[in-house]
């Protein structure tokens, strides 16, 4: 665990420590949520909508999430945009593992949420990416409009805003 997680233990003994703790949380969470770097990881049609969100009209940069990094080492957010197939599943798992903590996943589009239109009569589609990686936000739509994706990112920011360093959720691996 990081050193910062030991600070609350000390702070509880100090009177008014909780107040200080919430301030530290606020600063850390604000830093995390205002620069979520997504990984450029388009699978299918939703990738085109993700590019349209990154383009000028819908401009994902307003939320600090416009820097699409190529390698997972520099990303905080994996937007699974498209259909997850059985041949691609191990790669998605490996990419998720190779992202540094704290990391988040947005399942964009019905295919990533639950297999969507490819639910029946398919032998090579993974019905939902949450069978592979823990998903934070589901963005429905086929493909979801860029506004939906922006709404998903705002929901993710709200989720990060509620995080705290006191009891770091241990991700069961």
């Amino acid at each position: 665990m990081a050193l910062i997680n030991k600070v609350p233990i000390v702070l509880e003994k100090v009177p008014g420590g909780d107040f200080l703790l919430t301030q530290i949380d606020a600063v850390l969470n604000w830093a995390k949520l205002s620069s979520i770097w997504p990984m450029s990881f388009g699978l299918a049609c939703c990738a085109i909508e993700m590019m349209a969100t990154g383009a000028a009209r819908y401009d994902i940069d307003r939320f600090g999430a416009g820097v699409f990094r190529a390698s997972p080492r520099q990303c905080d957010l994996m937007i699974v945009a498209g259909t997850v197939c059985t041949k691609m599943a191990p790669c998605i798992e490996r990419l998720y593992e190779q992202m540094p903590d704290p990391k988040y996943v947005i399942a964009m589009g019905n295919c990533a949420i639950s297999g969507g239109i490819f639910q029946y009569d398919t032998y090579s589609v993974v019905k939902g990416v949450d069978q592979i990686v823990p998903v934070d936000v589901h963005v429905a739509g086929c493909p979801p409009r860029p506004e939906n994706l922006l709404h998903g990112i705002i929901q993710l920011q709200n989720k990060i805003r509620k995080g705290t360093i006191k009891d770091e959720p241990i991700t069961i691996r």
């Binding site: 699978l43 990738a47 085109i48 383009a55 041949k87 691609m88 790669c91 409009r145």
Partner: protein, 380 residues
């Protein structure tokens, strides 16, 4: 396999071969394509593409759906030009059933398909320039123009990317009355923008060094690998299905087929730019001659549950990426017995290993961008 360097006799050492995966998650492979590269230093000895990372078993699904339920599936084949997929599939079934589509519907179809060609080429050229290092500027310009086309599509069929707007016998609904002046406004808007794009890219020194003479496809190679669309016209073969086998009302419009001679990445890019201008010409003529009249030959029930008699049909159209064909075998029931999609990007990609030998890794990116492949229709 080791190769010896020719630098200097004293320095003659064997160097080992280096394996590199330009894997499924890569910014410049235009989707989930994996290129396994065997390299000596920077020069590529052998490149083998691995596909199938987006194989969604579409052809198996199509065997268990009625004809109309397949239309949304065809949208997701080549998801950058889904209007053209719809057209190819719907016209194939119409040919099977022998339905004559009314004039107004055919005009609406041609206008929308040619606008789709402009949108698809815009995205193809934008990502091609982005891969070659022009980070942002051309891509954002192209997306701005493309968003305007998508506005027209939203007005007409309500969706941004997957339209499912065509039906057997015509189109699903009539176009709104603001349609013709929206298209008219777009035509006068887009032509100077294509010139700006050309001024920005075509004679740019960096763009030239990266694309001129790279990935040359000779006409014989183009034919034996069955590549099609702007890629084959880039190698000097004047062949366009809209002219060779005119379907729908294409023989009414005069437009010419742009070709370039020496078939490198630069020429394929120039063919795409020129094709955008030709598509604008077609839309211009089509919007002027747009007739009135009803928009669907079949009654609603016959339109939604067609039952073509036993037989098979192979129908192909000129999609933005090339020769998109549908082979449909019907056994008289309301579900097709077998649907085969002949995807242009499938054979366009097959030529990649042939072009890669001896080039550097930066050229892989240029060639992959210039072939303008889409993984959705390769993996089906």
């Amino acid at each position: 396999m080791t190769t010896t360097t020719t630098l200097n006799p004293e320095y003659n050492r064997e160097t080992d071969e280096f394996y590199l995966n330009m894997g499924p998650q890569h910014p410049s492979t235009h989707g989930v394509l994996r290129l396994e590269l065997k390299m000596d230093g920077e020069v590529i000895n052998e490149a083998t593409p691995h596909i199938g990372y987006l194989h969604r078993s579409m052809e198996k699904m199509m065997e268990n759906r009625t004809y109309m339920q397949i239309i949304p599936l065809t949208d997701r084949l080549d998801y950058i030009a889904s209007m053209s997929n719809n057209l190819a599939y719907v016209m194939a079934v119409e040919k099977l059933m022998g339905v004559v589509v009314p004039e107004r519907a055919q005009y609406i179809r041609i206008i929308l398909v040619e606008l789709q060609r402009i949108a698809s080429h815009l995205l193809g050229v934008g990502t091609f320039a982005q891969d070659l290092g022009a980070f942002g500027t051309p891509l954002l310009y192209c997306f701005r123009e493309r968003e305007k086309i998508i506005d027209i599509y939203e007005e007409v069929c309500g969706n941004r990317l997957t339209y499912s707007y065509f039906r057997f016998g015509g189109v699903a609904r009539d176009v709104p009355d603001t349609f013709s002046d929206m298209v008219q406004k777009y035509i006068t808007y887009i032509l100077p923008k294509i010139n700006d794009l050309e001024r920005l890219l075509t004679n740019n020194v960096i763009f030239l060094n990266r694309t001129k003479g790279v990935g040359v496809i000779s006409p014989e190679q183009a034919l034996t690998y069955a590549i099609s669309g702007p890629n084959i016209r880039g190698s000097g073969i004047k062949w366009d299905i809209r002219k060779a086998e005119p379907y729908s009302l294409y023989e009414r419009f005069d437009f010419d087929v742009p070709i370039e001679k020496n078939g490198d990445c630069w020429d394929r890019y120039k063919v795409r730019i020129e094709e955008m201008r030709q598509s604008v010409r077609i839309v211009e003529q089509a919007i002027k001659q747009l007739p009135g009249g009803e928009i669907n030959a079949l009654k609603p029930m016959a339109m939604r549950y067609p039952k073509p008699e036993k037989g098979s049909v192979y129908f192909r159209t000129e999609a933005p990426r090339g020769d998109l064909g549908f082979y449909i075998v019907s056994d008289g029931t309301d579900k097709p017995y077998r649907v085969k999609v002949r995807a242009p990007s499938f054979s366009n990609l097959a030529i990649l290993p042939e072009l890669m030998k001896g080039l550097k890794i930066a050229d892989v990116v240029a060639i992959c961008g210039s072939l303008d492949i889409v993984m959705g229709e390769i993996d089906r």
